[in-house]
Symmetry: C2
Subunit: 397 residues, 2 copies
């Protein structure tokens, strides 16, 4: 991640508006100087924040020029008034930007169930619009944070369709993280010109293999929102379906999204370790995914990781409870490259000692080889620590 | 729970055999002086401990006279040797008791993946058999504990079929508790005479509404075992299908099982609160159960309970992610009798302050009224605390 990079034809701002009690930045604006195409992905929680409900409607028009985001308040569990408040936020900023209000998307994150402090937000909007600049993506990334300890920004450049294009994004995470459609909040931006369906399919694929493969605590947010804006300012040959250009764009997008998704896990609430769970040779993708998530979300596996105890029995127990096909007598488990378990039983004390040393690292991969079929899935997660509890026991106070 | 009660025609012992490092009791024996009928329920984890595999086979004969249980080692993830070890334990104690080895059930609980210290166990068996007594159920209850902080014993007497019958049981829990067929370990004993199919159906019903409705951490054990022995020593008229006697027996059984299940949650690892989640007016039983468990297992709900924060937004978010039918705008949430949420939104700050006071209690009920249908389900759980993490980060060390 690099400081202060430029994303041609996009402008940013992030300011404190008094939504958070501690005076930190809590209002962000992303503005495309030209009309952009948009793809989106949202939480599949049946309880959805007002901003999600609004965006889902607006996304049908496939066009977007600005995203306004507040942190400190999720505007969820706020009923019809919440929807009105979200629409009002969009309308007021559209008027300041002199664009159609339906081109504004809204995202909110923070405490659930409290009314949005709309007056404070509206009062801050002229300052928000006034401080838009191509150089201030970091301010926007900071303004969308809640319990995050660092801001998450990523970008790449590539030559596609005869021009250099830039693709970048910002995200936030920390807790209530097991997205099913997108992460808590992620905004991807590119100056590439790309055909509409290609943009949507590239985004859907990217979400599935990156943001939908991470978990901090298995809790799904009401406000998960992922948006990808492509405004074509790079002047490249339009990226069309079935072309090599699209393949390159997809690869680029996946790279950026994977980096942001990884940053979210590295910043998981209270976490001390970044752990990848790879399930191999499963009978089906669904099986591999179910086992990987079950292991990644097991409080007993996560506390053992925190305790640096290579307690593979808990991994085996979690895998067995995922409701997926497996044969305990065929399972191998590796900690990085160490074969800790062979055919369902311990490789011995010497190996456990080596595994305990691997566990002292900040990052490791646990591979569960089912030796059954050909499917695999990888999920990224973190450990469960006393700090997670402290952060979440006191979140609203 | 009462100390040193008698369960006519059953004898007990519990001794230290050196399986646990700290010298605490770790080997228990339950012996029926006459042949008993048996019903059983086991973990549905695909990875099963050796004792579960052995018992499942033996249960087909419907007869049992002794149960030998060790704590400190789950004898799971131990392959074929594990099965041999479990069978050997049963054979040796059968020989000392002079009964058919197939009448002995085995249960193990503790660390997964380490070979059973068979020599130490066999050496201790004469002492175990020698100390059998009608008065020592407490010793047996203590010997099956792992991280439990108190032993769990319950019994009731009732007049059924013309005689006074006694029904009692012991259980252990603490962590890796979200049974799908039975709790970690529970042994129910009665001197009632009861027809075989009636015994099985009464047990199945009891398990479903008690042990299958509790969760500490959402982790399912490899060794969950529930056994119910009925030896007929009370001399009552045989309890037969379709009779009032059976209804009374079922009610009695459910009472005892519910008390043991509740004791397991009250002793949940590191817990400070006993919390019941009642989901009402759901469209189906499956929906009610899914939402109740999702809320009960949400780390964010559990940490808020520990923090005594009436953060109903997290309850709403967890409910919405359960994959069950719900309409956010119809949901009411109560803390005990306080209507904290009406139609999906806050009842106001005053009510939240009252709810914060309710949360200071050691016990509370959270009612989620979906206002959709007629089904309901209640799940018991506890909060998630730094002590849970401490216990489980250091469990094997």
């Amino acid at each position: 991640m690099k400081k202060g990079f430029h994303l041609p034809s996009f402008k940013f701002s992030g300011i404190p508006a008094g939504i958070k009690k501690d005076g930190k930045k809590d209002l962000a604006l992303i503005y495309s100087t030209v009309l952009a195409q948009v793809a989106g992905a949202f939480t599949t929680n049946r309880v959805k924040g007002a901003s999600v409900l609004l965006d889902q409607k607006r996304l049908r028009r496939n066009r977007c020029q600005a995203i306004i985001i507040n942190s400190g308040n999720a505007n969820a569990g706020t009923g019809k008034q919440g929807i009105k408040d979200a629409a009002r936020m969009a309308r007021e900023i559209a008027s300041l930007l002199q664009i159609d209000e339906r081109l504004v998307m809204v995202a909110s994150t923070g405490v659930i169930g409290r009314p949005l402090p709309l007056n404070r937000i509206i009062k801050a909007l002229p300052r928000l619009a006034g401080s838009l600049s191509p150089d201030t993506i970091r301010q926007a990334a900071e303004a969308i944070m809640t319990t995050d300890t660092f801001s998450k920004i990523c970008y790449r450049k590539s030559r596609i369709g005869g021009e250099e294009i830039t693709l970048g994004g910002i995200a936030k995470g920390a807790g209530m993280i097991q997205p099913r459609m997108a992460t808590m909040l992620a905004f991807l931006l590119t100056d590439a010109a790309i055909e509409g369906r290609s943009l949507k399919s590239a985004f859907r694929d990217g979400v599935e293999s990156t943001f939908n493969r991470i978990t901090v605590d298995g809790d799904m947010s009401t406000n998960d929102t992922g948006l990808l804006l492509a405004n074509g300012a790079a002047g490249n040959r339009m990226i069309a379906p079935g072309t090599r250009d699209l393949k390159r764009f997809q690869a680029l997008l996946k790279e950026v999204m994977a980096e942001l998704a990884e940053a979210i896990i590295r910043d998981g609430e209270g976490s001390t370790k970044f752990v990848q769970i790879l399930v191999k040779q499963a009978r089906s993708q669904a099986d591999a995914r179910a086992i990987a998530f079950k292991v990644a979300n097991s409080p007993l596996v996560k506390t053992a990781l925190f305790g640096e105890d290579p307690n593979w029995g808990r991994i085996l127990a979690a895998a067995g409870s995922a409701g997926a096909s497996l044969n305990p007598e065929k399972i191998d488990i590796y900690f990085d490259n160490l074969p800790l378990v062979r055919r369902g039983t311990s490789s011995g004390e010497e190996m456990e000692k080596k595994a305990a040393r691997v566990l002292k690292n900040k990052q490791l991969q646990i591979t569960i080889d089912l030796n059954l079929g050909k499917a695999e899935a990888k999920v990224s997660t973190c450990d469960l620590t006393p700090d997670y509890i402290k952060i979440n026991a006191a979140y609203r106070t």
